[in-house]
């Protein structure tokens, strides 16, 4: 459907995106990386807002520059920070963008009603956008991207500013929408895409790091994630020698989730190998040590542990 052939974007000496090759089919692609890795630049190039310094983006055999309007007609794009007219109502703003997207007035009107209902803004559709909260504006942005039922939907941090309930609602909406479409969803909030993304694209140091399913990614850490309880003082020593994924204080102890690079045969082996850690361990909690199944957040933290 969409092929990115060795895409590079440079600003003078700085390379924002380096030599990315990707083939994207229908489904939800989660674009995951810390801030500044080049996600937004990559999405902007796919949205035709930026031209790659080298490489080409091909859609159905033609470059997107060649296709021009025909390509943009298939596109729904929600930028990270999208512009809006403060004095417009949601309906007027969406009608304006619908006109830009080439929709006729009647189709646009019914689609706008439908979308505003879907994103939960039907009650405030006649209020000016300047009175909207950040989350409400974000939902207007999502609605505008979906106006034309686009074949390619590009979402750059769409859930920023949404509360957990709104995020869950959005995931539901997207799961329904994504059938027969290509959705590119950029975020650094792992939980947003863990359950809905068919594939995860990760960028590291401005290059493509991986393009895999959640399962494939989690498999890479299988047998390496452990959790344990330890005293706070012991944890401080422990954290110096292990890569800790999360820490949760619990009364007089802390619950630690961490990575062990080489898979041990038993917990005792880890304890035995690491004399300092052994010293710190509280024997009474040894039974709480257990091997965990990795999740996407573990993978994300592990991959970007140096950044």
């Amino acid at each position: 459907m969409l092929r990115l052939e060795n895409i590079t974007k440079k600003y003078g000496d700085f390379t924002a995106v380096a030599d990315i090759h990707l083939e994207l089919e229908q489904g939800v692609y989660g674009l995951l990386s810390p801030n500044g890795a080049g996600k937004t630049t990559l999405l902007k190039m796919i949205a035709t807002l930026m031209t790659p310094t080298s490489g080409e983006i091909i859609y159905d055999g033609k470059t997107i520059q060649e296709l021009g309007e025909h390509y943009r007609e298939l596109l729904g794009y929600m930028p990270q920070h999208f512009g809006y007219y403060r004095d417009y109502t949601a309906v007027r703003y969406l009608s304006y963008l619908a006109a830009l997207k080439g929709m006729d007035r009647k189709t646009a009107a019914s689609r706008i009603e439908e979308l505003l209902d879907m994103v939960g803004l039907a009650d405030v559709k006649r209020k000016k956008l300047k009175t909207y909260s950040g989350g409400m504006l974000q939902r207007v942005g999502i609605a505008q991207a979906m106006l034309t039922n686009p074949k390619i939907l590009i979402l750059d941090e769409p859930t920023a500013g949404l509360d957990p309930r709104e995020r869950a609602r959005f995931r539901e909406l997207l799961a329904e929408f994504a059938k027969d479409r290509l959705v590119l969803y950029s975020t650094h909030i792992v939980s947003d895409i863990e359950n809905i993304a068919n594939r995860i694209i990760m960028l590291k140091e401005h290059q493509l790091y991986c393009n895999s399913t959640v399962e494939e990614l989690c498999q890479t850490l299988e047998g390496k994630i452990y959790s344990a309880y330890m005293e706070e003082a012991a944890y401080k020593e422990f954290a110096k020698e292990h890569f800790v994924l999360s820490v949760k204080p619990e009364r007089n102890r802390v619950a630690v989730r961490f990575v062990v690079e080489e898979q041990p045969e038993s917990i005792g082996e880890i304890v035995g190998k690491d004399s300092k850690a052994v010293g710190c361990m509280q024997e009474q909690y040894a039974r709480d040590w257990r091997l965990e199944y990795p999740n996407l957040e573990d993978v994300f933290l592990y991959i970007y542990r140096e950044e």
Partner: protein, 380 residues
Amino acid sequence: MVLKEFHKIWNVRTLLLVVIVGGALFYSWVMGQMNLKHLPLFETVEVEVGTELLKRYGTQLDASELAQIQILYEQAEEKLNEVALSAYPEIRDMGFESYQELEQYCTAQDKTEEELEAFFQTKEYQLYEKMLEDSTVAWEVETCTAYQSIITKAQVEKEIEKIDTVSTLPESVQMNVGFIIQDYSRILLLVTLMLVMPYVAMENRNRVYPIAAATKTGRRLMLHQIKAMLVAVLLLLLIFNIIFYIVYQIQTPYTRFASCKAIDLWFGWTWSEYLFIRILMLDVWALAHAMVVFFLGSFCKTIVGTVVMALPCWGMGELAGLYFFPHLFTMSYKEYGRFSSGIFGANKYFPVVTEVFVLGIGMLLLWLLYQRRKREDIVE
């Protein structure tokens, strides 16, 4: 899309601002320069003399008619003398035979500054001043000056332009209307700026273009915006032109000279044709000015930047509007010979060629900026 953009520009708030400011400026100007009651005496007299000549001889004065003007001038001098001597018999007591003799005595350029101080205190000079303040005498004095100015003009036309005829259109009318048009040009540019600038600032502040650029027709948004802006400005100009026309017709006595040939102008246009073309060109200029403000403003990222950019733009527009068009129309050796020098020699087309060249360079620069902008990435 053009209509949607038009509604953004032509909204109640902007329109109200434009109408209030434009209206206030227009009113103050109508109550001043364009008001017959506020014309200086010399101009009122020139208009009256011109009107009289128009009735008698038509729009042009030929050689035989100019000879009669000489007679009229002499009659006016006699009348002035009669009026002055009957109202101020002390002229004779002072040893002068006529008003003209006293005038010659008082305006002679043969005194040093110290002598002048003492001279202003003399009873002869005091009387001369008193007479000039007397409206009856002053009217007659200005009548003589009006005839004299026609005679001088005829001599100049004959010597320099080699023309035997003179237009009945008084020179002061042409000059005053020149000032009126300058003011009008200033108002037009200002209201255009006030209409366009909030629109550009709003677009810059809201930054909808990146989102629009990823839509089917969003890349043509700027074109739609330019079209909408031009329509809005055109509509505004039309309203102001209608007001100007009505005020000009009602307030000024200048309409009497509509069919006179204008002095020093190209193509032998009549005064009304000349005014029509001047206003039309001002409108074109205001549209071009709006385009420049819009285009340069679109490069500014903040409202302050837009304002900072727009004001010099207005200044430049005004400067060009005030001097470019008058220069374009009044081409003669008399006025422009002094500008021509160096390799160009005394070429009467030099100023206009220079101005067109500068304008051309400006337009080329805008075009290059536009081309560069088209190639740039769209940033949020």
